[in-house]
């Protein structure tokens, strides 16, 4: 049985070109980039090249990139670093209710410490309305942090408008771009962002490396200090191989994004439309138009998402019930709750994330296998039996 891997949002296989680029830096080119002897020079130059490749992917300058160990670290650094730098005075921060934990949790922590956080709600499609941000923003606002696209429901936010509102109010704008950089076009100037956190492994680079874009002139205090690496903004011996791999993946992504965007969007729509036709009481989650090309997400009634994932794997399909980014197996996704699904429907979250190797046949296979899997679970659901029998529970 062929395995159809549709959980690219949790993890991607390393791009072969990235792997090839990395291997020498795990073997013979092992110097410490900060060493001044010749063993340090080549790794130092390799890091610079990767920095430039990544800068090209998001249309910024190489020196505006800070390497981190993950997208989570990048988001933490952005938020805590901006506040600690004291560049702007004030106690108010604006964010949304569907942010990734690496944004939501630091902000909750700051809220306990006395910061004033406005949690902007989203509509049924998961969109933050820019006018809500405009209404909440004030002179006290230091930072606005709104994710570019949601990793569970695929909704892409109106970042450009929100960033402009933020800029006009004199606050800094941060976006968690983990789900978008390397997947859809990303231009820091066009979007108007001051800080953007992203991760290598979302676009087929290695795990263990991420980056934060910091617009030139933005002051930032380090989270990890005690070394001159990354111009003192992130200390610690550089993960040279990881950075090189991320650079190679960024280079590939720059070429592939336009092509893959079209191809994946078509596959995604085929999957969404096909499943909606084939399965009853199944809801697509997120915005149908402003949507990541690689995300097909649903809430299935009378189904437990985790059980469904396991049943699907028996049929060779790897999917997710929601975000994998929480170590605690959360039964109910806060994102699905935020877009208005109540407990038992939100429990039926199912998320397919497509990737470079996903093809038409894979989608067809899911279309033919998925309905029976849902049926298998619903068969043992007394609530579903009542529904079929015409009684309302």
């Amino acid at each position: 049985m062929k395995t159809i891997y549709l959980d690219h949002i949790a993890a991607t296989p390393l791009l072969p070109a990235a792997r090839e680029a990395m291997l020498p830096y795990l073997a013979e080119i092992f110097g410490n980039p900060q060493s001044r002897h010749q063993r340090g020079r080549i790794p130092r130059e390799a890091i610079q090249q990767a920095r430039e490749e990544i800068a090209q992917l998001i249309h910024c300058e190489a020196r505006e990139i800070i390497f981190t160990a993950s997208g989570s670290e990048a988001n933490n650094l952005a938020i805590k670093g901006v506040l600690a730098s004291g560049q702007k005075k004030g106690r108010h921060i604006i964010t949304s209710v569907i942010e990734h934990f690496s944004v939501a949790h630091p902000l909750k922590h700051l809220e306990h410490k006395g910061y004033d956080i406005t949690w902007i709600p989203v509509d049924k499609t998961g969109r933050v309305r820019p006018e809500d941000v405009a209404a909440a923003i004030s002179e006290e606002t230091i930072l606005v942090s709104i994710m570019h696209a949601n990793n569970e429901i695929g909704t892409i936010q109106a970042i450009q408008e929100i960033a402009q509102i933020t800029q006009e109010a004199g606050a800094l704008f941060h976006t968690d771009a983990v789900a978008t950089v390397g997947i859809i076009p990303f231009d820091v100037d066009e979007l108007g962002v001051d800080l953007a956190g992203f991760s290598s492994q979302q676009f087929y680079g290695p795990k263990g490396v991420g980056a934060l874009y910091v617009r030139r002139g933005t002051r930032l205090s380090p989270l990890v200090e005690g070394g001159i690496q990354e111009e003192g903004r992130r200390a610690g011996t550089e993960n040279v191989a990881g950075i090189v791999g991320m650079g190679a993946a960024a280079k590939e992504a720059k070429n592939q994004v336009p092509i893959e965007n079209t191809r994946l969007s078509r596959l995604r729509d085929g999957l969404i439309d096909g499943l909606l036709r084939r399965v009853s009481v199944l809801h697509v989650t997120g915005d149908r138009q402003n949507r990541l090309p690689n995300i097909a997400s649903f809430a299935a009634e009378y189904v437990d998402g985790e059980a469904l994932v396991r049943v699907l794997e028996k049929q060779g399909i790897i999917a997710a019930s929601g975000s994998s980014c929480s170590a605690d197996a959360l039964k109910i996704s806060p994102v699905l709750t935020a877009i208005g699904y109540s407990g038992n429907v939100a429990q039926g979250g199912i998320l397919f994330s497509l990737g470079t190797q996903t093809c038409n046949d894979d989608i067809d296979a899911v279309l033919s296998i998925f309905p029976a899997c849902v049926e298998e679970i619903r068969r043992v659901s007394p609530l579903y039996a009542m529904r079929i029998g015409g009684t309302t529970p």
């Binding site: 891997y5 959980d7 949790a10 993890a11 296989p13 390393l14 072969p16 792997r19 990395m22 795990l26 073997a27 092992f30 110097g31 410490n32 900060q34 060493s35 001044r36 002897h37 010749q38 063993r39 340090g40 160990a69 993950s70 997208g71 989570s72 670290e73 988001n75 933490n76 990734h100 690496s102 949790h105 630091p106 922590h109 290695p206 795990k207 263990g208 490396v209 989270l223 990890v224 200090e225 005690g226 070394g227 001159i228 200390a235 610690g236 011996t237 550089e238 993960n239 191989a241 990881g242 985790e306 396991r310 794997e313 790897i318 019930s321 994998s324 980014c325 929480s326 170590a327 605690d328």
Partner: protein, 404 residues
């Protein structure tokens, strides 16, 4: 012999081919996210992480659950110090550390000072060791944390960790140890040493860069630290972010190899270190060993060559990768703060070289390096009027320098 000869193993080490081999499958084949709880890709990644945790625990004599993965020792040090300070600040605001610590510790301490903490920076003796009396005397009822490194990255001296552990325990103070240079080279036992938090890094022990760990004691006492990186709650909530699976697998394997081979390897390193030291000492006068003669890593040799600039010496030894100071601070031409703390004058501090022996160095390389160091020092001294004057018996301190 292959050139350049790498004798800078305190700055970093090459990945052991055996480590590399176990990492490779986790890049492309078993590429799952260990936090994916419901499918086999996630389980396989989780299994690999658990195995590595066990391998590290074995080397440190702790439980697997007490290991928190980080991106390296710098992050571990930041996390331990800032995390403990934030968690226990209501108990007290005093921290004790030592002037010869790595910058990751010193800069974290400085950050806390700006946030209202009080930090005591203990001095060291001329051999680089901290005095136990000084540690004891520095503790107040406000002290929440002592942070002292196991082995120094520049001069290799090994601090009396177990004794400090006893003091810390007696006083009910948490004890963090930056063991970046000690783990894998000398025996580490967090139980016997009474360490509560311990930092380590993979790339100093023939593992990959970009991965490290922090040991966080779970029992007697149960140590809690606030995270630096907050999010999905990975690593018991102390360090969020998708785990670097190949890196973790590599760190685990590197630890297992060290555990198995440490006794034999340390003996071999000691022999090479002594050979290097005696060859150089025999070949040159006015060479000074920095740091304690015995209580030092078998891999380390740090020497000052009077009347010679360390930088010029390095220039003359281009085919050998060595360091004249800690790699993390080499962008500045300040004399090493570690050597200055030992009371080494700035002239001698500027004339120091750090030799870091490692697993892949050979006796042949040791002989070659000794020979080239001797040649180069002699050549440079021939050009040094100061050396000439000193040889003629003129006390340089008595020289009246003319002003231009």
């Amino acid at each position: 012999m292959e050139f350049p000869i790498f004798m800078d193993n305190h700055s970093t080490t090459p990945v052991d081919p055996r480590v590399m081999e176990v990492m490779i499958p986790y890049f492309t084949k078993a590429f799952g996210n260990s936090a994916s709880r419901n499918h086999s890709f996630g389980w396989e990644a989780e299994k690999a992480v658990d195995r590595a945790r066990g391998q590290i625990a074995q080397l440190l004599h702790c439980q697997a659950k007490e290991i928190i993965f980080t991106s390296g020792a710098t992050e571990s040090n930041n996390l331990a110090i800032k995390g403990a300070a934030e968690m226990y600040h209501e108990k007290g605001n005093h921290i004790i550390t030592v002037v010869t610590e790595h910058k990751a510790v010193l800069d974290s301490a400085k950050r806390l000072e700006r946030d209202g903490f009080e930090v005591t920076y203990l001095p060291v003796e001329s051999d680089g060791l901290v005095s136990l009396e000084a540690v004891k005397d520095a503790i107040t009822d406000k002290t929440i944390l002592i942070s002292i490194m196991m082995a120094n990255n520049e001069i290799g001296v090994i601090q009396p960790i177990a004794e400090i552990g006893v003091i810390a325990k007696e006083k009910g103070v948490l004890f963090h140890c930056d063991a970046t240079q000690g783990v894998g080279k000398i025996p580490v036992d967090v139980q016997a040493m009474g360490v509560d938090l311990l930092s380590l890094s993979a790339h100093k022990i023939y593992g990959p860069k970009g991965i490290g760990a922090l040991y966080v004691r779970k029992r007697n006492p149960r140590v809690r630290i606030a995270p630096l990186i907050d999010g999905g709650g990975h690593e018991r909530g102390m360090r969020s972010g998708t785990l670097n699976i190949p890196g973790i697998v590599g760190l685990g394997e590197a630890c297992e190899i060290c555990e198995k081979e440490m006794t034999e390897e340390a003996a071999r390193m000691k022999r090479m270190q002594q050979r290097l030291q005696s060859l150089i000492m025999e070949g040159l006068d006015e060479v000074y060993l920095n740091g304690h003669g015995e209580k030092r890593l078998p891999q380390n040799l740090n020497m000052s060559f009077a009347y010679v600039e360390g930088e010029s010496l390095l220039m003359g030894l281009k085919e050998i990768a060595l360091s004249s100071g800690s790699a993390c601070t080499t962008a500045s031409l300040e004399p090493s703060y570690v050597l200055r703390a030992l009371g080494v004058g700035s002239d001698l501090a500027h004339s120091s070289l750090r030799f870091g022996l490692g697993r892949f160095n050979t006796d042949e390389e040791v002989d070659y390096v000794a020979k080239r160091v001797i040649e180069t020092v002699i050549r440079l001294r021939e050009m040094s009027p100061l050396y000439e004057m000193a040889k003629e018996g003129i006390d340089l301190k008595s020289v009246q320098w003319a002003e231009h």
